[in-house]
Symmetry: C2
Subunit: 267 residues, 2 copies
């Protein structure tokens, strides 16, 4: 089955929603995004291409989010199943809100006019404060992620910044931190912002082996030791923590947002 | 108007789709995500909270994506408008595919079992190859973004990595590069992978002023000079390029994906 995600914008909404929809079905799917379809000519071109493909297959559908009715009509006249993702919900919501939908207002993934995109600050913050690089900026952090090397701190910080505009610093817990009791001094005054990541020792061993094979750093024994120590540190200090082994960065990030009561800065 | 995005997963699909839907309406909206709603008790708790809120307002709705019918029924019985985002489309798609939807299969933003998440490699690649840090790795790049300092290269590289698993290096074009004719030598052999970013000189001046006020680097004159030079370089060398001034990182990234015919590595 081939699925086109077609949009007059980035096609991100169609992709995210369409992919979620398709994940209900145990069917192999090849997807293709067609963003920024903005003119009738482009729509006719796509229709022609789809109709040509339909001569050799029946396994093709289109999921679309398009504001302009003329362009929508062209897409809907393709020789395949076409689904208007907003179609069925707009009018009930119009009724509930008592307001008419304004097709031209739609720009879900664009820049809001006159609104500075604070996510860029947050991304720069995450980069500047990666791996304990600059602990003096911790006061500015919305959250400080802890964890041993390669437990998922950096991707999580970046995802929190990019998706939610959250300023996430991260601090690597190393063997040095286990020799003294309690939390590293630089973390103590920010205790409410701390959130721990952990990972199964075996998975950590695999990841570190990929990075530096046959090192002490990557050895099963070292990984087991660091994971045990960091988890007892979290428990002793009552730092909320999460095992990232089987989670995607989206799952880790949304769990962190919920547990730490963080509010997205980006609207 | 207050809108709850409720899900048994990350709630990302509900957020993305619900926000896109709401962007059609010129109504002020406060949104709240409720991810990982997985038990009847949690659903009853949320229902109680919503019904309490409904005593003081009528301006509340729920957008949800929930697989389990029992949990769904609890949410649907709240005293407010509730919209099942998948509801209306699942059965037409079942018919088109000739396959029954399997509610438990849904894990749109989770880790695919046994599939290594190549996005983490791509994020690490983007970090290691930011700002021309390691040109020897350019052979491995899917794309190399060019641009003057602060024209949007780093966030775009990271977004391409995180969302699409694309390995994006980036290389800063500086005054040194304008003194010699043509492309910097390290870029010549990778010409097909090059993509340029540019930005309005005035906007660049503002961004650089925020970073280093009253410097030559941030001066209007310097910004104008660098932008003019880099754009003529792109034109001379026939490097495709994009003005990022009024675009979100999502728009830049999806345009780059489309123009460079890049295919997402993550499925």
């Amino acid at each position: 089955m081939k699925v086109y995600f077609v949009s007059d914008g980035t096609a991100i909404t169609a992709e995210v929603f369409g992919s979620a929809m398709l994940s209900f079905f145990d069917v192999a799917v090849e997807t293709k995004s067609v963003p920024f379809l903005a003119t009738k000519d482009q729509a006719e071109g796509l229709k022609h291409q789809i109709n040509e493909e339909m001569k050799n297959t029946t396994g093709l559908m289109v999921f679309y989010t398009i504001s302009d009715a003329n362009i929508r009509n062209i897409i809907e006249s393709c020789d395949c199943h076409c689904y208007n993702l907003f179609g069925d919900l707009l009018s009930p919501i119009e009724q509930a809100l008592g307001v008419k939908a304004q097709p031209t207002a739609q720009k879900a993934h664009g820049m809001k006019e006159g609104v500075y995109d604070g996510r860029m600050d947050a991304v720069n913050y995450a980069l500047a404060n990666d791996d304990g690089a600059s602990v003096k900026n911790f006061a500015e952090a919305d959250i400080i992620l802890l964890g041993v090397s390669r437990s998922g701190k950096t991707p999580t910080s970046l995802y929190l910044a990019m998706q939610y505009g959250i300023k996430a610093a991260n601090y690597p817990i190393t063997e040095d931190d286990f020799s003294a009791p309690g939390l590293p001094r630089v973390l103590k005054e920010h205790k409410k912002k701390l959130y721990g990541l952990t990972i199964d020792a075996q998975r950590l061993h695999e990841i570190r082996t990929g990075r530096m094979a046959a090192s002490k750093y990557a050895s099963s024994r070292q990984c087991r030791y660091e994971v045990d120590e960091v988890e007892s540190l979290y428990r002793q200090e009552r730092i909320p923590f999460l095992n990232s082994t089987k989670l995607s960065v989206e799952e880790i990030s949304t769990k962190v947002m919920a547990e730490m009561n963080l509010v997205r800065h980006r609207q």
